[in-house]
Subunit: 206 residues, 2 copies
C-alpha cells in the first residue's frame, strides 16, 4: 500500500512534467471525499445515528462518485498539460506561424484552466458534504470530518492557482476575467465554509 | 500510476480501521514536501537562478528527507492505532482489570498522539521550505509552491485534530495540556506562515 504511494510521490518530486500541482489539487479533493465516505461507512448501522441513516446512505453515494471524479480530474490534468507544452514549442518566426501559435496556445490555455476549475468545484462539493457530516457523522470519527474538509480546502486553493497560472497568459481577457471571477467566487464561498466546518470539529475535541 | 492511488483511496473510503485521517495528514505533508523537491529540481541548472543554486541543492535534500519521513509517519500512524484499539477491548469488570486497562490505554493514547505531533512538526518544516522557495523557485513553477504550502497547511491542521482526539481522552491532564499547548503553538506559527506564502504566490499570478 505505502509502496504504491511512494512511487507516485517519487515521480511528483522529480523533474517529470507530470504529475504536478494540478494533479495534487485533484488528488487532495479525492482524499477529502474518500474521508467523507469513510465517516459515513463507520456511522451507518449505528443505532445512535439511525435517524440519519437514509441521509448518510445518500451522502456516501455522492462522496464515492465525487472521489472517483476527482481521480479522473487528476488524470485529465496530466492530459491537458500536453497540448499546452506542445503549443509552446511551435515555431513563431513568420507572422503566419505566430498567428497559428497564438491560436493553438489560447485554446490549450482554456483547456488547461478548465480542469482545475472543475477540481475547484469538486472541492467545494466535498466541503459541502463534510458540512452535512458535522452533525450526522459518528462522534468517534469526527476528527476525520475535519481532516477531510482540510484536504478539500487545500484542493480548492491549490486548484485556484492552477486556474490563474493559465488565465494570466490568455490573450482573450474577457474569457480570462470570467474564469478569474468564477474561481474567486468559489474560493470565497468554499474556504469560509471549510473554516466553519473545521472550527466546529475542533470545538468538539476541546 | 493512478491505479495505485485508487487502491489507497478505496481502502481509505472503506470501514477498514486504517488508513484514516492521521495517515492522510502525514501523506499530505509528504505531498507538500515532494512538490518542494519538484520546484527545486525544475529550477536547479537554470542560469536565471544560478545565484540560488547552492541553496536550492540544500533545500532539495531537506525536502526529499522530509517527504520520506512523512510517508514513514503515515505508516507509523497505522501501527500506533492498533495498541489503542486493543486497549479499548480489554476487560474492565474487576478493579484490577480497570486499573490495568486505564494504564494500557493511557500509554497507547500518548503513543497515538505522538505520531500526529511529529506530522504537525514535519508539516511546519515543509511550510518553512516553501517560504524559502517563494523567492528562489523558478517563476514558471511558482504555482507549485502555493500548492505545496496548501498541502502542508492542511497536514498541520489535520494532524492537530489527531493530537486532540487522543489528548482529550488522557487521564493525565498535565501530559495532555502540555501536548495541547505544543500543537496550538505549531498551528499558530505554521498556519500564519503558510497563509503568507500562499498569498505571495497568488499575488505573483495576478
Amino acid at each position: 500500500m505505502e509502496k504504491n504511494i511512494e512511487i507516485y510521490i517519487d515521480k511528483l518530486a522529480s523533474k517529470a512534467p507530470t504529475p504536478g500541482g494540478g494533479g495534487v489539487a485533484a488528488l487532495a479533493a479525492s482524499l477529502g471525499a474518500a474521508l467523507a465516505s469513510m465517516v459515513c461507512n463507520l456511522t451507518i448501522g449505528k443505532p445512535k445515528y439511525a435517524q440519519f441513516e437514509d441521509e448518510l446512505k445518500e451522502i456516501v453515494t455522492e462522496a464515492q462518485i465525487l472521489s472517483k471524479k476527482c481521480l479522473e480530474l487528476a488524470a485529465e490534468d496530466e492530459v491537458a498539460f500536453e497540448p499546452l507544452s506542445r503549443a509552446y514549442s511551435l515555431p513563431s518566426t513568420t507572422d503566419e506561424e505566430k498567428r497559428i501559435k497564438d491560436e493553438v496556445l489560447e485554446s490549450a490555455l482554456v483547456r488547461a484552466a478548465n480542469v482545475p476549475m472543475m477540481s475547484a468545484q469538486a472541492a467545494c462539493d466535498a466541503i459541502d458534504i463534510h458540512r452535512r457530516l458535522v452533525e450526522r457523522g459518528s462522534k468517534l470519527v469526527i476528527s476525520d470530518v475535519g481532516v477531510g474538509v482540510q484536504m478539500a480546502r487545500a484542493a480548492l486553493l491549490s486548484a485556484a492557482l492552477n486556474v490563474k497560472i493559465n488565465t494570466k497568459l490568455m490573450k482573450n481577457r474577457a474569457v480570462a476575467d470570467k474564469m478569474n471571477e468564477q474561481i474567486e467566487a468559489l474560493i470565497k464561498k468554499g474556504s469560509a465554509a471549510a473554516d466553519d466546518v473545521y472550527c466546529a470539529v475542533s470545538n468538539m475535541l476541546e
